[in-house]
């Protein structure tokens, strides 16, 4: 696999190569080179399977991290590609032309993070949230509790427990509240 | 009486004068030209009158000697007749050519010489003189052709010269050897001394002569040059060639007929009839109008030649009238019609068939054109029809069935390309190129009028004048003349006329005929109410309808098979025209016509065979004991085509569905019953001992039940409303055929009861469809939906009629089913009964689909504003509903008369006990069933009505849904491809094998024609080679 990484390094500006497991490597690639790298992997290196496409909100760095997980069934090997994009204007090139189902992930990202993928099919349609009007809910600056309290009708008198402690106190009351 | 010899003096003298003095004559030239032509026209007339009065044939001897030294001319009745006609054509042609001759002096001169030559060919009795006259006509024709002087013209003329030159060489050699053998040139003497024509020299001489004649007659395959002439020369000239020259040449051949040995004679017959068939076949591929006319001309002459050889030589026909009617009639028919067509072609600028569509702008010309086509196709009321009838009768009488078959095939092919042409004219894009001149129109109109007149004479000769037979045409023409009456008034007039005719007709009819009269007249008058709905003049529609309906009456009153067949063909043609009016593409109408004509030809064959066996055309005896199977097959086959039985049904859906919406009920409900009438008549007239026992009835029954089944099966897969109804009609008529085939009292009662029922419900359905289509502007059912709220009255009508159709009690449909199954079981046709039952359940499918797709389900947004169907459509529907309700409640009022009528023919097995109908197997009380059904319906209904206060009326999208609400009505309405599973399970049964088969037949016909016509390479030398080959072939065939 190191050979693969070497080959990739020859052509792409690859950073932060981390070997997660024996069959899983993560690497980071600049936004500009991401799609060409994925295309290369798909066409030349037989990474025929897009396992998922997700995002991470690095609000402190003002970045979104996109994770493309590709899988090579021949070697049973997965490759995670991290792409850092701007958080203020989150736009990324769509890869729905490589895998049709990528458009579904992209719709989800659009809805949940507000990352736009111009040209992706039905990108502007509702995915799960019908008629969502607030900021995308999976961004870290979205306060879900406040939203919930504001929007729904919280039943008063609700008590929250730490499940672990609570169950322990219920099941082993003799041990007392603490430990 | 003027001596005919003057013809040969005055014409050349006038020609000479005009030629030499043309600078001085100026305007007088035209005067002289026409005076001379008038003279030549006048000359034979006193002779004709004289001879018709019984005068003797006159001989004119030139130079005072008797033959063989001198030349003699003969003017007998045939000559006088033909000369009159040809000279008349000469005048008309001259009139037409007037503008063509303007500026040239040679034209009229050559024309006069040409006319003289034609007269000479007709009159001369001298072989060499015949040659001379032939050359005279040829040379004048060569010159006439060059007058317009285009390069096509010249090359065509050159080919003509080559062929004609070879012909004259052959003629000359033949003549001289005949002279050598017989010592005379006089035809009569030669014929009398025919025993001298022996040995190789004799037969070769005859073959040469014959070949020359065949070339001159333009028979297959030595006619490539003739086609070019027809194509290239000026239409006026072509008309004269087709009409005059060919006729004269035919007469020359006719004169020489007794000369041939029997084997040669049959070769002539063969060549003639083959020419007829093959030319018509090759005509299929033609796209140029003039060339097509050329093909047709040659074919007609071929028919004449073949028939003359067949009728006069091998099997001499007794009765001059018949020969007159066949040969004379055919000749006149061809001469006038073809000349007329060529003349019309001169008016039209374009070459192709479709460029004639400009005629649409001139209805009178179009009318003439249609008349001429019909005349050529042998359809009534033109001379061709009587000829066709007589040909069939005569050939059958002489057992020439093979030839008869070929001739019928040719007729059918001819009808195909002519009516395809007509359809093309009616339906292709309107062109503009036409030049109309009075001088051109006059001969055209005169010719057509003449044809009518002659047809009338022939009608008189043949069947005795029967005013009734003419009445429909007269009335229709009369109404046609009243052009500016608005459509509604015309519709009203039509209804009145139909009812009047019915009023006068009814007392004359009895029994069965009366029942059919009730089907034909009041019910079609009822359907006519729907026609009031359409605005505008609708020229032609009502006229044709009157023609159809009144002819239906004539069908019932006809006593001879000729009268029957006449009315039958009138109905066919009128229906074709009316379908053509309505359809968007002409091929549906053409398909109808072709199949109907084929059916009519089968009927004709059946009648003629019957005539051959019994010697009578009286409708009352059909065939004798040993011929009945053939007659049965022919007649039943013919009528089955009309009913649209499976295998020959492909014309039906298109014709029923594509025609105008208010004609569909008439054609499907009423006109389909003509086939039933025919079948019933056949079964009745064949004689009980045969018809009741023949195994063929079983086959007929199977055809009927298969039609019922497949009709229903086809219907359920239709997306088009009218196509579905059309296939449904096919299926329902299949039941009637099945019931008829039973040949039992119960069966026939069932058949007529079914027939009445079918008229009622199919009338309603088609009328309702018409109303819906008018409002919606679409015929696709899946585009409709939810119309129950917009058109409740139509919905109710359709509901009632589909209940009646599917045979669900308590409505009248069940009665018909009950009668049918009882009859089937009584006759022990068990498997048929099972299949019929299956078919009726399948019918249930399309019934539901019909009402669901249109009226139930989701209403479409674009049809929210539609209104209830027009009142004019609803009135007849509700009258019919009242009738259905009446006969559902009291079935006896209709079953009883039918059963009584049928009891005249077959002992009754149906009995009554009060209102209960008893058959040998079961019983049925329509009245009580109706009451009980009403009762059990009312009780829950009242129960439900009590809850009505707690009900909320909701809108169309208030249906059960949770996940996604309906998007739009178009996607929520389930209607398209409504029975996909049926398609999967039984779809293989509806593979259009029959359509494919007929398409292949058509394809092969065209392919063969395409291959065959390659012999006409356009090279004059090839044509010369053809002649050589033909001579050799005749030599081999003659077996010398």
């Amino acid at each position: 696999m190191t050979k693969l990484i070497d080959r990739l390094k020859a052509n792409f500006r690859i950073k932060n190569v981390t070997m997660q497991r024996a069959d899983l490597i993560f690497l980071t690639v600049p936004e500009k080179q991401a799609v060409s790298l994925i295309t290369y992997l798909r066409n030349q290196e037989n990474f025929s399977h897009l396992v998922f496409l997700t995002a991470v909100d690095w609000i402190e760095e003002n970045k979104f991290q996109l994770n493309y997980m590709l899988h090579n069934h021949g070697f049973n090997f997965s490759l995670g590609i991290r792409v850092m994009i701007n958080r203020q204007k989150p736009v990324m090139t769509s890869i729905h032309h490589l895998w049709e189902h990528a458009s579904t992930y992209q719709r989800e990202l659009k809805e949940m993070f507000g990352i736009d993928f111009p040209g992706s099919p039905e990108i502007d349609q509702n995915f799960i949230l019908e008629g969502w009007e607030d900021i995308p809910p999976l961004r870290r600056d979205f306060d879900t509790l406040k939203y919930s309290e504001r929007t729904y009708f919280p039943r008063t008198g609700r008590k929250s427990h730490d499940p672990r402690k609570f169950m322990k106190s219920k099941i082993y009351p003799e041990q007392g509240e603490e430990r | 009486m003027v001596e005919p010899i003057y013809l040969f003096i005055i014409l050349p003298v006038a020609a000479f004068l005009m030629g030499s003095l043309h600078q001085h004559l100026n305007r007088w030239q035209v005067f002289i030209f026409f005076t001379v032509l008038l003279f030549s026209f006048y000359l034979p007339i006193p002779w004709l009158i004289h001879l018709l009065k019984g005068g003797s044939t006159a001989q004119v001897f030139t130079a005072g000697f008797l033959p063989p030294i001198s030349i003699n001319l003969q003017i007998g009745i045939e000559e006088a007749f033909l000369m009159t006609i040809i000279n008349l054509l000469g005048i008309m042609g001259a009139f037409y050519l007037l503008h063509h001759f303007r500026g040239t002096v040679y034209g009229p001169i050559l024309y006069l010489v040409f006319i003289m030559g034609l007269n000479g060919i007709i009159m001369t009795r001298d072989l060499f003189n015949l040659f001379v006259f032939m050359e005279i006509t040829s040379i004048s024709l060569y010159s006439l052709i060059t007058l317009s002087g285009s390069s096509e013209n010249l090359t065509a003329g050159f080919k003509y010269i080559i062929a004609s030159g070879i012909a004259s060489i052959l003629f000359l050699i033949g003549t001289i050897y005949l002279y050598y053998l017989t010592g005379t040139l006089n035809i009569d003497v030669m014929i009398a001394s025919g025993y001298k024509i022996v040995g190789p020299a004799g037969s070769i001489a005859l073959i040469m002569l014959l070949s020359a004649i065949i070339v001159e007659l333009k028979q297959f395959p030595v006619n490539g040059w003739a086609l070019d002439i027809y194509t290239a020369s000026d239409p006026g000239i072509a008309a004269i060639i087709a009409g005059g020259s060919s006729s004269a040449m035919f007469f020359a051949a006719y004169k020489l007929l007794p000369l041939w040995s029997p084997s040669l004679s049959s070769i002539i017959a063969g060549i003639g009839i083959m020419t007829y068939v093959l030319m018509n076949l090759m005509g299929l591929k033609q796209v140029k109008a003039n060339r097509l006319l050329g093909y047709s001309s040659i074919a007609q002459i071929g028919l004449l030649v073949g028939l003359s050889a067949l009728l006069l030589h091998s099997t001499p026909v007794t009765g001059l009238t018949t020969i007159w009617i066949i040969l004379g009639g055919l000749l006149i028919n061809h001469l006038l019609a073809k000349a007329g067509l060529f003349w019309i072609s001169g008016l039209i600028k374009g070459e192709s068939l479709s460029s004639w569509s400009v005629l649409r702008k001139y209805p009178s010309l179009l009318f003439i054109f249609a008349c001429l086509l019909m005349a050529l196709a042998g359809l009534p009321p033109f001379p061709g029809f009587w000829v066709k009838w007589n040909i069939a009768m005569q050939l059958a009488q002489h057992k020439q069935f093979l030839w008869l078959g070929f001739i019928m095939l040719g007729t059918l092919l001819e009808a195909v390309y002519f009516f395809r042409w007509f359809g093309l004219i009616m339906k292709s894009e309107l062109t503009t190129g036409i030049r109309v001149r009075i001088s051109s129109l006059l001969p055209i109109f005169t010719g057509t009028f003449l044809m009518f007149f002659i047809s009338l004479t022939m009608m008189n000769l043949l069947s005795g004048f029967n005013f009734n037979m003419l009445l429909p045409i007269l009335i229709a023409t009369l109404i046609f003349a009243l052009k500016l009456i608005p459509g509604k008034l015309k519709a009203l007039m039509t209804i009145f006329i139909i009812m009047f005719y019915f009023y006068f007709l009814l007392p004359e009819l009895s029994g069965l005929y009366r029942l059919f009269a009730i089907i034909f007249f009041p019910l079609s008058a009822l359907f006519m109410i729907a026609a009031m709905n359409k605005p505008g003049y609708r020229n032609g529609y009502f006229e044709l309808l009157i023609l159809i309906v009144l002819s239906l009456g004539n069908l019932l009153t006809s006593h001879t098979s000729l009268q029957f067949f006449y009315s039958w063909e009138v109905i066919t043609v009128a229906t074709y025209l009316i379908i053509l009016r309505g359809v968007k593409r002409f091929d549906t109408a053409l398909l109808y016509l072709v199949f109907s004509l084929a059916g009519a030809l089968m009927i004709l064959a059946g009648f003629s065979y019957s005539y051959a066996v019994t010697g009578s055309t009286f409708l009352g005896i059909l065939g004798s004991s040993n011929s009945q199977i053939t007659i049965y097959i022919l007649l039943v086959g013919g009528f089955l085509i009309k009913t649209g039985a499976v295998g020959v049904h492909i014309w039906l859906p298109g014709a029923y569905a594509e025609t105008e919406d208010d004609f569909s009920p008439i054609i499907s409900a009423i006109l389909s019953k003509t086939g039933i009438l025919g079948l019933l008549l056949v079964l009745l007239l064949m004689g009980k001992s045969f018809a009741a026992n023949t195994e063929l009835n079983t086959i007929l029954g199977w055809i009927g039940v298969l039609t019922a089944f497949l009709g229903a099966l086809f219907a359920i897969f239709q997306e088009d409303l009218k196509y579905m109804l059309a296939y449904s009609s096919m299926g329902q008529v299949g039941y009637i055929v099945l019931a008829l085939a039973l040949y039992s009292h119960l069966g026939w009662t069932a058949a007529l009861y079914l027939a009445f029922n079918h008229i009622f419900f199919k009338g309603i359905l088609f009328l309702a469809a018409a109303g819906i289509i008018q409002r919606l502007g679409t015929r696709k059912m899946y585009e409709m939906g939810g119309l129950i709220n917009r058109m409740p009255l139509s919905f109710l009508a359709v509901l009632i009629s589909i209940i009646a159709l599917s045979g669900v009690p308590p409505l009248s449909g069940f009665g018909s089913k009950w009668l049918l199954y009882n009859a089937l079981l009584e006759k022990e046709w068990y498997l048929q009964a099972a299949l019929a039952f299956f078919a009726s359940t399948v019918a249930f499918l399309y019934c539901f689909r019909l009402i669901h797709s249109i009226f139930l389900g989701q209403e479409k947004t674009r049809f929210r504003q539609v209104k209830e169907a027009s009142l004019w459509f609803l009135i007849p529907q509700y009258v019919l509903i009242a009738l259905i309700m009446l006969i559902s409640l009291f079935p006896n009022i209709i079953i009883e008369p039918i059963a009584q009528v049928m009891a005249d023919f077959i002992p009754a097995t149906l009995s009554w006990e009060g209102n209960t109908l008893m058959s040998s197997l079961g019983y049925w009380n329509g009245n009580v069933i109706m009451i009980i059904t009403m009762g059990v319906f009312m009780i829950p209904l009242i129960g439900l009505l009590l809850r009505v206060r707690s009900m909320q009326k909701v809108k169309q999208f208030n249906i059960v849904y949770a996940a996604e609400r309906p998007d739009k009505p178009e996607t929520t309405h389930v209607a398209h491809n409504f029975f996909p599973h049926y398609q999967k399970a039984l779809g293989f049964l509806v593979t259009p094998l029959v359509s494919k088969f007929w398409a292949a037949v058509s394809e092969w016909c065209h392919t063969i024609a395409g291959v065959l016509r390659n012999i006409y390479t356009g090279n004059g030398q090839t044509y010369a080679l053809h002649i050589v080959f033909m001579v050799v072939l005749i030599y081999i065939l003659a077996g010398v």
């Binding site: 799960i128 019908e130 509790l145 919930s148 929007t151 729904y152 | 009326k953 809108k955 999208f957 849904y961």
Partner: protein, 210 residues
Amino acid sequence: MLKNQENQPQKLANAGLPEHEKYLFCDARPRIRHPFKGFWEKFLNWARANSIWMLAYGTGCGAIELRPLMTARYDVFRYGIAPRPTPRQSSVIIIGGYCSVKTLKRIIRSYEQMQNPKFVLALGSCTINGGMYWDSYNTINRIDAYIPVDIYIAGCMPRPEAIIAGFKKLKQLIKSGKAEGANLYAENFDWYKANQKKIIKDWNMPDYNW
């Protein structure tokens, strides 16, 4: 007994629908249907209680607990309870656990399409107060703000036994004539609608799904 209906506007605005679709939906208000009085109503209630057809519509994770009800082990059929595939014919809808906004829309549709009298059985703590999703951006906290609930069954998830117990309680309510959720809904229709519309932003359906 309940508010007079004449004062309310008879027609609903159906403002959520585009203009060209309004004609496709009924715009009548739901009305209060008064029960009969006396023995007759008792008899009818008995029948209603003994023939409970539940809408077979799994709205949440709790739907998995409904399946065992029909098996041989629990056999709710013996209480006259049967699943029914269409809301038109059902008399009880079971809210099977946590309820997102998206699901709520479907629940409202299904509930409104059922016929009076109709009952609601809510399963699990999520329906009561949001349960473990109490702070989720997309899970509503209490279902009774949107449709009238007859019985809550607590638990995460309640076992089939608990559900049967709930059904028994429901039966008692029905028999005693207290399960008038449908009329409650009609009476407080505007309140319920306002609550529903507050969270369902793309209200692309009629105000009352008949």
